[in-house]
């Protein structure tokens, strides 16, 4: 139940006890030197749908990104981009409708656990994954009303999470629960703790979910569209909470969203997904101000702006590509204003390094800052 046994990447027998861990952590220390504080390292992640016939149709192809310690990476995309699937594949909690046994994931997702081990999330068995969920990785789901148990008080849900992973008494858990609620920005944590989910407003429920997700002190938080269902003012509270927690505890966040406005406020780095692939990745301000991929640029242009001169946003023609049936070649080429005959229509572009930290998947990436029609 408690996390002491961890599968090492080489598949050796679980290292129990301080001696075993010491060896493993020495091994880890050597690797870490090259890794530079990488909490999560996803390589070549694929998520597919197993058709009734048996063959697997890929939805997410070759997604790769990293999340450093204390860093916020935003996974940005529209519906059908595969962003939610990608993040949920890490903890194998699939689908808006719960566990969907037809979804399969492959690839490598290296997580650096608190004990210093590097584990591949995608190759863990169920029991090991259960130990990871909550303790190493916390999850905030999209809809707080259905993710919170309606018949349990908030404090009970936090205590449950803590008792699952930590060795402490119920009273200690309860005390910590109140502290967690205060950290989540509640001015009256005692009152909120005793509430049932339906007694809280949308924003409060979302923050209660944050408290529950962080109950067992994970170092990585996966937030799946946490602000989508909320009003602007309340969104701000939730973002504020997350930023504070990041500053206080060095929390890393994998933030999934379609809302570039929210993302611009909280993300350190952005990975843009389209048609089941990562098409651009880099520091947040860089990607937003100088997008290298035509889709990112078009997406930014299609947002209504808060400028005194009323400018109409420019839509991207057609509809987002279906990841199950992408167009040949580059998935974005039918809608791309810069597409040229040749490689764009025939070859799937690979991920190329632009310069330190920036990657783009495009045959003809945008080289210089875009001229905008408005100031």
């Amino acid at each position: 139940m408690k996390v002491d046994a961890v599968v090492t990447p080489t598949g050796a027998a679980p290292a129990l006890g301080p001696a075993g861990l010491q060896d493993a952590s020495q091994l880890q220390a050597a690797r870490s030197a090259a890794q530079v504080d990488m909490l999560l390292d996803v390589q070549a992640l694929q998520v597919g749908l197993r058709a009734p016939g048996g063959q697997i149709r890929p939805i997410v192809r070759a997604a790769g990104f990293t999340v450093g310690r204390g860093e916020v990476l935003a996974l940005v995309g529209e519906s059908g981009s595969g962003k939610s699937l990608t993040a949920l594949a890490l903890v194998r909690l699939f689908g808006a409708n719960g566990l969907d046994p037809r979804l399969v994931a492959a690839g490598r997702a290296w997580l650096c656990t608190r004990s210093g081990e590097r584990v591949d999330l995608l190759s863990l068995g169920d029991a090991e994954l259960q130990a990871i969920r909550g303790r190493e990785i916390g999850l905030i789901a999209q809809d707080p009303m259905s993710a919170l148990n309606p018949v349990m008080r908030v404090i009970d849900q936090i205590v449950e999470a803590r008792q699952r992973h930590l060795d402490e008494t119920a009273a200690q858990s309860a005390g910590q629960a109140r502290r967690l609620l205060a950290d989540a920005g509640f001015g009256d944590p005692d009152r909120v703790a005793r509430c049932y989910p339906h007694q809280l407003s949308g924003g409060m429920r979302q923050r209660a979910m944050i408290a529950i997700a962080l109950a067992a002190q994970p170092r990585l938080l996966i937030a799946d569209e946490p602000t989508t269902a909320l009003d602007a003012a309340v969104q701000w509270q939730v973002i504020d909470t997350l930023q504070r927690l990041r500053a206080q505890q060095g929390l890393s966040i994998l933030f999934i969203s379609h809302d570039l406005g929210v993302v611009s406020r909280i993300a350190d780095r952005i990975a843009v997904m389209y048609g089941g692939q990562v098409v651009e990745c880099g520091p947040a301000q860089e990607v937003l101000l100088r997008p290298a991929h035509p889709y990112t640029a078009a997406l930014i242009d299609s947002l209504p702006r808060m400028t005194p001169e009323a400018t109409l946003p420019r839509p991207i023609p057609d509809i987002p590509a279906d990841p199950l049936n992408p167009p040949p070649g580059c998935a974005f080429h039918p809608r791309c204003a810069h597409a040229r005959p040749g490689a764009c229509t025939t070859q799937v572009p690979g991920l190329t390094d632009l310069h330190a930290g920036r990657m783009v998947r495009c045959h003809h990436p945008l080289g210089r800052p875009q001229e905008k029609a408005h100031g």
Binding site: A232, P304, P315
Partner: protein, 268 residues
């Protein structure tokens, strides 16, 4: 009388309120969704109504459209009290004021072909033969940038953006003078939202239609509106020209709302 009516506001609410009571055997507690709101809608303008969810903006929109009767106060269209309209007059009103719902499936029944849903308003109103109806439908589709091929399909065969545009087209077949759009882009993908905003913009330009745009997204309002009304807990706390309300706000709540949005806005 008619001329006077035409020179005045095309629609207005005078100290209108709407209260909802819990329907139990005895009268339950009531919620004031809208309190004593007075609003005049001028012909040809785009009025943006912005506010949080629960602020009463949808209720306000429905009162303007005559879909909800105010519990107190008056709702008028072209000078006539909506409450006094019956039968044929009420039907005529419907042809002049159209409402676009957030969820396109409200207008497009999933069981029918899109063409049948688009034709229904014309059938109800009567007075046009089949070729004339067809013409109206085609014109409406052109206004939203859709082709004829959709008419034979069912709503679930269309994309989200196409559905919303078809729903708008249904509102247009009656050639209304006023279009009230309630969160028309809220449920759509970001890149598709821009398509709908372009449609609304074109409508206002081409036919001089009066549009009321209700949204919780201030940036959307900023893209289209001439005048902006800010709603909070059932009341209009501030109303005025767009630039003034959104960039030189006077009311505290407006400032608060803009703060939250500005914090999330892309400053480019």
């Amino acid at each position: 009388m008619d001329d006077a009516a035409r020179s005045g506001p095309v629609a207005e609410l005078v100290r209108a309120s709407k209260a909802y009571t819990a329907a139990t055997v005895w009268r339950g507690p009531s919620v004031m969704a809208v309190r004593e709101v007075s609003l005049a809608l001028e012909a040809g303008e785009v009025l943006g109504i912005v506010g949080e969810s629960g602020s009463g903006k949808s209720t306000l929109g429905r009162m303007l459209a005559g879909l909800l009767e105010p519990s107190a106060g008056v709702a008028r269209f072209r000078g006539r009290d909506l409450r006094s309209l019956r039968g044929a007059d009420l039907r005529a009103l419907r042809a002049e004021v159209q409402y676009v719902f957030q969820n396109a499936s409200a207008a497009l029944s999933p069981r029918r072909q899109v063409g049948a849903s688009l034709e229904e308003p014309l059938r109800i109103q009567g007075g046009l033969d089949a070729p004339a109806r067809r013409q109206r439908i085609e014109r409406a589709l052109a206004q939203v940038g859709l082709g004829d091929s959709l008419l034979g399909r069912h709503p679930h065969e269309l994309s989200g953006g196409q559905r919303q545009r078809a729903a708008i087209a249904r509102s247009l077949v009656l050639e209304p003078a006023v279009l009230i759009a309630d969160e028309p882009v809220a449920s759509l993908d970001v890149s598709i939202q821009a398509q709908i905003l372009q449609v609304l913009h074109a409508l206002r330009g081409a036919s001089g239609m009066t549009i009321v745009l209700i949204s919780h997204d201030i940036a959307v309002i900023n893209a289209l509106a001439d005048r902006v009304a800010v709603m909070h807990q059932g009341q209009i706390v501030e109303i005025g020209p767009r630039r003034q309300v959104l960039f030189e706000p006077r009311h505290d709540y407006t400032k608060q709302l803009l703060q939250a949005c500005a914090a999330l806005g892309l400053q480019r």
